[in-house]
């Protein structure tokens, strides 16, 4: 409500200023200025001067802009600002084509201002918001009425927020003293992060100058209150963000390591090529994307990612099946040999990817997964991260259902608990091994697909993740899915909790040290298998 009142005051002021300028312009500009006056007052657009406003006039104006005399400059500036529309902008561009550097430099801020003014009426939310934010730092008081008018009929909450914030910010930084207290209060109520530096500067200035201190007393108090309010808010926002980041990193760790938890945890196979199966998934995503680009109409493009998910699962699963049949099945129960053989396979896979796909390849995130949802002031939850969180929850649920609610799962558990006994009972253990391994590999492929949303696709991709995945599985306790989940959550959140204070490098070092210490204390991880373990 206070905002509305302020708007009223501003409107009057704005109209006053316009009238004043128009009078001044009349004096200097004759014909041209009269047209400005006639049209400038209510809507600020200038259809009526479309006729006389020729390129020559605009050129003359730009030259005046570049003048050394501030009075001449200001006057030209105001005329342009208040009469400018889309057509004017085009003329302005034409006018400076062959102008000298000084003129171009002088025209640029005016042009930016005009552009942003026009953008406030754009159809796209992001463009409007961008324009509002830019105007907030432009230090042009004339932008305040535009912002307020735009805010009044703005449907989008966050765009309106940006407009109100910018208007208040301009009032505070360049506005009149009497209005500053209001502006500070508004900024405080908006919890404006962007306003914080300006508020602090204002407080510092006002406090250091004893003369203006008296006059600024109410504003000063308002500003101090606003600073407290904003800082309190930002602490809470910070906590919320840290928690989200922890969950997001955990979900990435989890999706990376569930496949490994099955292959390594349940089957006891140390598959060094697990990371490369992720890479296979990532490249499957890339190929799907390219196929969509090549063969399907562009409006279907965004759907490619939904297709890529099962595709990458299948492709990686089939790769796993082949890997199991050709290499791993001969090496069950010989971890060292398995490790060496799969490491060799990983090198082969990396180099073939490099030879076939070249170096970096780009996966474009679909439009519905780029950008983020703003949930509160200054806090964005990126869609791609939300998606990965969802996907990892889905994966884990799927695995639980499969392992504990299905016939196949029963067999898998039986085989991993006691292979010989299961074989005696007629379970085809070889087949179960192959399917389990393929399933774990497929999950790796799914992870690779999801990871294209946050990282890039390159042959060495798997190498970046494999260490972290092993870390999660080992910390969680080999053979226990719940352990993997808890370890992923723990390591992810701890990492994000430590990073702000230690930095990325030492944060990572710290995590590794903690994991080592933990494993010293509990060598078999969080959830150790109890009783007589097979093998």
């Amino acid at each position: 409500m206070q905002g509305r009142e302020l708007t009223g005051v501003k409107d009057r002021l704005g109209i006053g200023a316009i009238a004043g300028v128009a009078a001044l312009a009349l004096f200097v500009w004759g014909e041209f200025a009269r047209a400005v006056e006639a049209s400038a007052a209510p809507v600020l657009s200038v259809p009526s001067i479309a006729g006389p406003l020729a390129l020559a006039d605009v050129k003359a104006l730009t030259e005046r802009l570049a003048s050394d005399d501030p009075a001449v400059h200001d006057q030209a500036f105001r005329i342009i600002i208040q009469t400018g529309d889309a057509r004017f902008l085009v003329l302005l561009d034409e006018a400076v084509v062959d102008a000298d550097r000084a003129t171009r430099v002088a025209v640029k801020p005016v042009k930016d201002l005009l552009k942003n003014k026009l953008k406030l009426a754009s159809e796209t939310d992001d463009v409007r918001r961008s324009a509002a934010a830019d105007l907030g730092t432009s230090r042009q008081l004339s932008a305040v009425p535009w912002l307020e008018r735009a805010a009044a009929n703005e449907p989008n909450r966050w765009v309106r927020y940006a407009m109100e914030e910018s208007a208040a910010l301009l009032q505070l930084t360049v506005g009149e003293t009497v209005l500053k207290a209001r502006a500070a209060t508004i900024l405080g109520e908006l919890q404006s992060q962007n306003g914080l530096p300006a508020l602090k500067e204002f407080v510092q200035q006002a406090a250091s100058d004893p003369v203006s201190r008296e006059a600024n007393q109410p504003a000063l108090r308002a500003a101090q209150g606003a600073i407290e309010q904003i800082e309190l808010w930002s602490t809470w926002a910070n906590v919320f963000e840290t928690v989200f980041r922890g969950i997001s990193l955990s979900s990435i760790l989890l999706i990376m390591s569930v496949g490994l938890a099955i292959v390594f945890g349940l089957m006891g196979v140390i598959n060094m090529a697990h990371g490369e199966l992720m890479m296979v998934g990532a490249y499957a995503t890339f190929v799907t994307q390219e196929l969509f680009k090549a063969f399907l109409p562009p409006h279907l493009f965004d759907a490619y990612f939904l297709v890529a998910l099962p595709v990458s699962f299948l492709v990686a699963g089939i790769c796993g099946l082949i890997l199991e049949a050709t290499v791993i099945r001969f090496l069950y129960g010989r971890p060292l040999e398995t490790m060496l053989a799969t490491w060799g396979v990983s090198l082969v896979l990396i180099q073939s990817a490099r030879v076939y796909f070249g170096d970096l390849t780009a996966v474009t995130a679909p439009a519905w997964l780029s950008g983020g949802a703003q949930v509160m002031v200054g806090v964005y939850l990126p869609y791609n991260r939300l998606f990965i969180i969802g996907l990892s929850v889905l994966c884990v649920t799927g695995i639980y259902v499969l392992l504990f609610r299905s016939n196949l799962g029963l067999r898998v558990r039986a085989v991993t608990q006691n292979r010989n006994m299961s074989a005696c009972l007629g379970i085809p253990t070889r087949k179960v091994d192959a399917y389990t391994f393929a399933f774990g590999s497929g999950l790796a492929g799914l992870a690779g697909c999801a990871l294209t949303l946050v990282g890039n696709v390159e042959p060495g991709l798997g190498q970046n993740y494999i260490v972290d995945s092993f870390m999660v599985v080992v910390t969680g306790g080999v053979g226990k899915l719940a352990g993997t989940i808890v370890a992923a959550l723990g390591i992810g959140s701890l990492n994000k909790f430590l990073e702000p204070s230690f930095g990325a490098v030492y944060g990572k070092v710290f995590i590794l040290v903690l994991v080592i210490l933990f494993l010293q204390r509990r060598p078999s991880g969080l959830y150790a298998l109890k009783g007589r373990q097979v093998d």
Binding site: K108, G136, L196, L360, S370, G372, G460, P500, A504
Partner: protein, 457 residues
């Protein structure tokens, strides 16, 4: 190459037969031995004759040069293009009759992104292949590891990548930018009115020598320009860092209120997650432009550029530079890649290090012609002051400090992975291996001094 091998086998065969002959007492052996000796002897004479005839034909044996770029491993992504660029320059020179009437024969080795192997391969090039000059290295650590080899054997290395400075070797010519030809002008641009008048700087890099040294210099420079220490943030991430949530969150807080810029020396595959996170958390290039020193066209080729549009980079050359010789260069590089069936040949682009590698070969050729010799000491003296019309405009080799005078260009990333030049230095910028901000007392001069020297106040 093949000729050398046959030569040495002949020599070996001869010596063995001689000992055979001396050692045997039996007649059969003697006869047999004599036959073999005669045969080998004739072959050797013929071979020598051939060799002699070759050398008689006015030194027409090709001049060997070494190419020391990783063709496998992590750095292959960047370095393969440099090899192609050098090979292309060599092909151009050879097509025009070579140097001093002799063809250039490139010897390509693969140090496989392994720093120790770099030193080993450099030794092999210098001692075994006896190359006249080596073009190579990308990372600073690889350069540091070959440096002693070149200095000990008085070799000559042309190093084409921008680097952190603080080096002044007699055996290296640096055709990439020193810090004052890239990072310093870039920050000055950001501080200028034109560049947005930034007041707060977030120095973000990967944790290794180039970002650390560059940021040390930038910090000293910012402090010297009265930017308060509270307005400078410095942060490093490990190699291959993927999770930029916290850092982008910090940048957002830091950039609140405007006037902030991110100075990025983030390397390689960490760039994609960084820029993606930056865009996804609602930050725009207008809130805080990212000024990158390690992202060029060749890296953008493999990235989804939507998140990068509007951000900045500082280099000495862009593919988009509008000069006739650059158009020519870009077309011939693309045709060269296509003709030689290189991977991704249709998508190949040129960038700053590719250009620097290319003109390095031509500068060396001009120097050899001026010196009328391929001896390292003579060539080195001839390189000083050498000018060349490079694709990005004329460059000049410094008169004493082994670096290159180059223009500085600030570019804005476009949707198609190219740069639009938004600012250009007036004329060429003189290279300063020792930054005036961190080492004002030091200079580099191989004419009046012996390399690094203390300036007198």
């Amino acid at each position: 190459m093949t000729e050398d091998h046959s030569d040495s086998t002949i020599g070996d065969a001869r010596t063995t037969t001689v000992t055979d002959e001396a050692g045997s007492s039996r007649r059969d052996f003697l006869v047999q031995g004599a036959r073999v000796t005669a045969g080998v002897g004739i072959a050797a004479v013929l071979g020598n004759l051939g060799n002699w005839a070759l050398s008689y034909a006015a030194d027409k044996a090709p001049i060997k040069i070494g190419i020391l770029h990783s063709l496998s491993g992590t750095m292959a992504i960047s370095e393969v293009s440099l090899r192609d660029s050098v090979l292309m320059a060599v092909a151009e020179i050879n097509a025009k009759g070579g140097v001093l009437g002799r063809q250039i024969q490139p010897v390509v080795v693969d140090p496989a992104s392994n720093w120790d192997l770099f030193a080993e391969k450099a030794k092999q090039l210098l001692l075994q292949d006896k190359v006249a000059v080596v073009f190579g290295c990308w990372t600073s650590v690889s350069r540091k590891s070959v440096l002693p080899v070149f200095e000990k054997n008085n070799g000559l290395l042309f190093y084409p990548v921008q680097y952190e400075g603080e080096e002044c070797s007699r055996n290296v010519f640096y055709t990439g930018a020193a810090v004052n030809q890239q990072a310093v002008p870039a920050v000055e641009y950001l501080m200028s009115k034109e560049g947005g008048g930034c007041k707060k700087f977030y120095l973000l890099g990967t944790d290794y020598v180039y970002p650390r040294t560059t940021n040390k210099i930038l910090r000293a420079m910012l402090l010297a320009k009265n930017v308060p220490a509270a307005n400078i943030m410095e942060e490093y991430t490990p190699f291959h860092h993927q999770d930029y949530q916290t850092i982008v969150g910090k940048v957002k807080k830091f950039a609140a209120g405007g006037g902030a810029a991110v100075i990025s020396t983030v390397n390689g595959d960490s760039n994609v997650p960084f820029y993606k996170e930056f865009a996804n958390q609602g930050l725009r290039a207008e809130d805080a432009p990212i000024m990158a020193f390690s992202v060029a066209e060749d890296e953008l080729r493999g990235m989804d550029t939507t998140a990068l549009v509007g951000h900045l980079a500082a280099w000495n050359y862009y593919q988009s530079v509008d000069t006739p010789q650059n158009k020519q260069f870009v077309t011939s590089f693309k045709t060269y890649c296509k003709k030689n069936n290189l991977p991704d040949s249709d998508k190949r682009v040129t960038d700053d290090p590719i250009e620097a590698a290319y003109f390095g070969v031509h500068v060396w050729k001009q120097a050899v012609e001026k010196a009328n010799s391929i001896e390292v000491d003579k060539v080195r003296k001839a390189v000083y002051g050498q000018k060349f019309l490079a694709p990005g405009g004329e460059i000049m080799m410094d008169l004493a400090n082994q670096h290159t005078h180059k223009p500085v260009l600030i570019g804005e990333i476009q949707k198609d992975g190219q740069f639009k030049t938004v600012w250009r230095s007036k004329g060429l910028v003189k290279p300063e291996p020792w930054s005036e901000y961190t080492n004002p007392e030091k200079g580099c001069d191989w004419i009046d001094h012996q390399g690094t020297y203390q300036k007198k106040a």
